[in-house]
């Protein structure tokens, strides 16, 4: 017990005096939260589009006004589609709409009236936004026209445009979808990015930092000196595990406070559940870190292995940014092997939904299993020998 305590005290003193540990545990989380809190935003608002009116009538002006009124679009109006083309090519616009000459006449005559939507397909995501917003706004305009009962706009004309948009006539009048978003009513991406980024921070401390500090002991020859004393291998491992466990928890506290009080992310779960979930995840992360350090005995290699086997998966395969259900099956299957996947989902649940115990327990079970595997291998691999 005295030996373990001595090792823990030594490690704590080193953490306190080593600027890089403080950097990874406290400064880096702040930076990450800052980036994910302000820099990364998956919501698309105010797509820049152009609008070319080739004729000016009451109707086309009304359509333009509706477009400009949309809070999703930033409209630049012009007279010539060629200047819009140039703007699209240079990236100033994401797409543009053309209301052709004769539009009013055609709608009035009851013939087929068409508007042209051109979108920048090099960014398919944005392009489909442009297309859908354009559709939605035109539909809105149609509805306004219909309800206004404008004589100049006979129903038939509107109907033609409806057909163009592949919607049955009068649908706006009969069916109305009223959507409500649960748990994150404002659809702020920050609200699910921040809990996810906490998982990244915990992976960094648990796996990367732990692997690095053990590798450092190998490099500086202190591990060899420790091994030649009567200390046992279990004491050596616990002496690493315990201080970094608590370091990670305090880093968690920093992240939590920043997320809730600075970024106004809601927290609907309980602290106890958060502590339980974090602890189980840390066991898995620390277990992985110790395993890496028993295989990679210099800091460079340890950092490489930790980045590739823990940090990158936590970033890309955890569902933190990239949706797991959208991944191809083999990769989706792979995500089950990473503790970060369960941690991200548990954290997002705790922050946005609350204590959903069935989900939390199954996540904790999976993370506990992964932790167990790491510890079993580490225990087998670690002996007080230099040539094993």
């Amino acid at each position: 017990m005295r030996r373990l305590w001595a090792l823990i005290r030594k490690e704590s003193l080193q953490i306190v005096r080593d600027p890089s540990a403080i950097l990874i545990a406290f400064i880096l989380p702040i930076i990450l939260l800052f980036i994910f809190g302000y820099g990364v935003n998956l919501d698309t608002n105010r797509v820049r589009v152009g609008l070319v009116l080739e004729e000016y009538t009451a109707q086309t002006n009304a359509l333009a006004a509706t477009l400009r009124g949309s809070k999703f679009l930033a409209v630049t109006q012009g007279h010539d589609r060629r200047e819009m083309q140039a703007a699209l090519t240079s990236g100033a616009l994401r797409g543009f709409l053309v209301v052709p000459k004769g539009f009013t006449a055609q709608t009035a005559a009851g013939g087929s009236a068409a508007i042209q939507v051109i979108a920048d397909g090099s960014e398919p995501n944005i392009a489909s936004f442009v297309q859908n917003y354009a559709k939605a706004v035109t539909a809105l305009w149609l509805a306004q026209q219909t309800m206004g009962g404008n004589d100049a706009t006979p129903q038939t004309g509107a109907g033609n445009l409806h057909q163009l948009l592949a919607q049955p006539p009068n649908s706006t009048a009969t069916i109305q979808a009223k959507s409500r978003f649960w748990y994150n009513p404002e659809l702020k991406s920050r609200n699910f990015l921040l809990p996810g980024s906490i998982a990244i921070v915990m992976t960094l401390i648990g796996t990367l930092l732990t692997a690095l500090v053990v590798a450092r002991e190998w490099e500086r020859g202190t591990m060899e000196a420790l091994m030649a004393t009567p200390v046992t291998i279990t004491q050596l491992l616990l002496g690493k595990l315990i201080p970094y466990f608590f370091l990670a928890l305090s880093s968690m506290a920093v992240c939590f406070l920043a997320a809730v009080f600075w970024y106004d992310v809601p927290f609907r779960g309980s602290f106890l559940a958060l502590l339980a979930v974090t602890s189980v995840f840390l066991l898995a992360a620390l277990g992985q870190g110790l395993l890496i350090s028993s295989l990679a005995k210099d800091q460079f290699l340890a950092a490489q292995v930790a980045l590739i086997s823990a940090f990158l998966p936590a970033f890309m395969l955890s569902g933190f940014i990239f949706e797991i259900s959208a991944m191809p099956t083999p990769i989706r299957t792979l995500t089950f092997a990473f503790a970060a996947r369960y941690f991200v989902s548990a954290l997002q649940t705790l922050f946005l939904v609350g204590n959903v115990w069935p989900l939390l327990l199954s996540c904790m079970g999976a993370m506990g299993g992964i932790a167990l595997v790491f510890f079993l291998i580490t225990a087998r691999k670690s002996v007080k020998r230099l040539d094993a």
């Binding site: 080193q14 080593d18 060899e224 420790l226 004393t229």
Partner: protein, 593 residues
């Protein structure tokens, strides 16, 4: 104060002395160790015994197997065959019991640099269950013994090399071990600290402790009670150093009265004689070891005087003799133009890193065809001076000239006249031997037929045929050193900078190396070298003693020895001279403060 022997528990002394002599503490039998992927076995059939109360020297160049043997003794590695027994415990199966009775100081001392002296001690005391009142007493004793009382609160990383070494020793001594294993405790530490540590460890022997001191310094080996001499995993000798010296007794002579400028030519000539097995330059003398039964060859000038054999003579004898005196490398070079100008000139060279003054007002001149040595402990400022002279570091103030070119303004012009061999032979480990040769010759502007000729010549001179396709990183140390030398001289430089060029290599390779250097110097090449091998410094025409960033004395080896000559010390060695001059410098500093 002598280290109190009564602090050792009674039982450590039990059965120490029997009618048959001291009891063996460590018994090594038929020990073999082969690392997976290693070409040659690290240890081959080693038998050895370590006795309590004796200093056992584990001696050999890098790669001899010293560290491996120590690790096997302390149970941190297991052999492939044979056995190790420490205090009756099998090292492979009862390592725990061995850890209870053994103090082990690995290379780099095993200290936590961001913990203070006291925190390091406390950690190891806790790990070894030294607690309560016993701990307080033990700390007092050890801090006093190591003279670290004043530095208890200082971070270990901020200690000097010598103090780290003492703290490492203190940590290894915490559990009152019966066996103390020290892995190269004196590497990179200044000669004064080396002597102090040696004295301390000797005191421990009186308490009945058995000590194994591993070292690559052959002069340390001579002072051990018994030595185990290893080379490439094979034991060459085991027994008291005196008996090994017997093997060359009566065969070592000094040629005195050789003209100063003629020493190198005389040595080269002598080494080519059938009767001469080995030879070195020793200040103004030339020292040779004769083959068995041979008589001294005739001398043009001067006379032969019998000299006391040293461990290195005996080591070379055990390895079958030195490499001879011809340098085909030097023979392939043309004579450098004679000039009265200084080839290398340093003026008030100063380098500061922040507040720290690494080199202070260093001034010296080196003439054509001269070997100038910088001698001093690690961290004294040798390498910093060196890097400023080759244009790798900009001096804070002062000037450096090579062949009259200012290194501040004409770096690339100056560099093409320079050959540089960096510490640890900085080769590209992932490139093979041929690729390294091509790369470095290309770097120095060689191309086409000339490049091919020179590379072929290097391969033939340095025997690199068998290794051409091998990556430089996995070459045996001796061949790394040869390759590094080849890479730095292919463009026939006027000036050669050698930074710790023979660190860790075996004495035969060192001899060969100096044969080439001597040959090139005869052709007019100017050499600047840093070293911490005192005997190597004897090859230099002039030496600058570097201590705490300052050049405390400059002169020929004999001048420097003369400065330290006193009635009590009529024949000081270069190491004695260094220590005396450092002490004088310290006294002057304290007097000024």
């Amino acid at each position: 104060m002598p280290f109190a022997p009564e602090s050792f528990p009674q039982d450590t002394a039990q059965g120490l002395v029997t009618a048959a002599g001291p009891a063996p503490l460590v018994v090594v039998q038929g020990l073999c160790k082969q690392f997976p992927g290693g070409a040659a076995p690290a240890l081959q059939g080693i038998d050895a015994t370590v006795f309590a109360g004796r200093m056992t020297g584990l001696v050999g160049p890098d790669g001899a197997g010293k560290t491996t043997l120590l690790r096997l003794m302390v149970g941190l590695m297991h052999g492939n065959a044979g056995s190790v027994t420490v205090a009756g415990h099998n090292a492979a199966t009862q390592a725990e019991a061995i850890h209870e009775v053994t103090g082990y100081m690995p290379q780099k001392f095993g200290l936590y640099e961001d913990l203070t002296v006291l925190e390091n001690l406390t950690l190891y005391a806790d790990l070894r269950h030294v607690v309560g009142k016993a701990r307080q007493e033990r700390f007092q004793q050890l801090l006093h013994f190591t003279d670290l009382e004043r530095f208890q609160k200082r971070l270990a990383g901020k200690l000097s090399g010598g103090m780290k070494q003492k703290l490492g020793l203190a940590c290894a001594l915490l559990g009152n071990p019966r066996l103390l294993l020290l892995d190269e405790p004196s590497v990179g530490v200044d000669p004064i600290s080396r002597r102090e540590l040696w004295g301390m460890v000797r005191e421990l022997l009186d308490g009945g402790m058995g000590v194994v001191w591993s070292t690559a310094y052959l002069d340390e080996a001579e002072k051990c009670d018994t030595v185990i001499l290893l080379n490439q995993g094979v034991k060459l000798y085991d027994g008291p150093p005196k008996s090994l010296l017997q093997s060359v007794a009566g065969r070592v002579f000094q040629a005195r009265g050789v003209q100063e400028h003629d020493r190198r030519r005389v040595l080269t000539h002598l080494l080519q004689q059938e009767s001469v097995m080995d030879g070195v330059i020793q200040g103004r003398y030339v020292r040779v070891t004769l083959r068995e039964g041979a008589t001294t060859p005739p001398l043009e000038h001067g006379e032969w005087v019998a000299a006391a054999p040293c461990f290195e003579d005996a080591f070379i004898n055990a390895l079958g003799g030195g490499p001879g005196g011809r340098s085909r490398l030097a023979e392939s070079m043309e004579v450098k133009p004679v000039t009265d100008q200084a080839v290398i000139k340093a003026q008030d060279l100063t380098k500061c890193f922040g507040n720290f003054v690494a080199v202070k007002d260093n001034t010296f001149r080196i003439a054509r065809g001269e070997i100038f040595g910088l001698l001093g402990p690690n961290g004294a400022g040798k390498s910093t001076t060196f890097k400023m002279m080759c244009g790798l570091l900009q001096p804070t103030h002062g000037k450096a000239f090579v062949m009259g070119l200012d290194l501040k303004t004409a770096t690339s012009a100056a560099r093409s006249r320079i050959g540089y061999m960096a510490q640890k032979f900085s080769l590209y480990g992932q490139l093979n031997v041929l690729q390294n040769l091509k790369f470095f010759s290309g770097l120095y502007g060689l191309g086409g037929r000339l490049q091919k000729e020179r590379i072929d010549l290097m391969v033939s001179i340095f025997d690199l045929h068998a290794y051409l396709g091998m990556n430089a990183g996995v070459l045996p140390l001796g061949f790394k050193q040869r390759l590094a030398l080849a890479c730095s001289v292919m463009h026939h430089p006027d000036v050669l900078f050698l930074d710790e060029p023979t660190s860790g290599v075996d004495p035969i390779t060192r001899r060969e190396f100096w044969t080439h250097i001597n040959g090139m110097v005869e052709k007019g090449v100017t050499v600047m070298v840093t070293t911490h091998f005192m005997d190597e410094a004897e090859y230099c025409d002039r030496i600058g003693f570097i201590y705490r960033g300052e050049n405390i004395a400059t002169g020929s080896p004999d001048d420097l020895k003369a400065m330290a000559r006193t009635a009590a010390m009529p024949e000081p060695t270069l190491e004695d001279a260094f220590i005396t001059l450092v002490e004088r410098s310290d006294a002057a500093r304290e007097g000024a403060a």
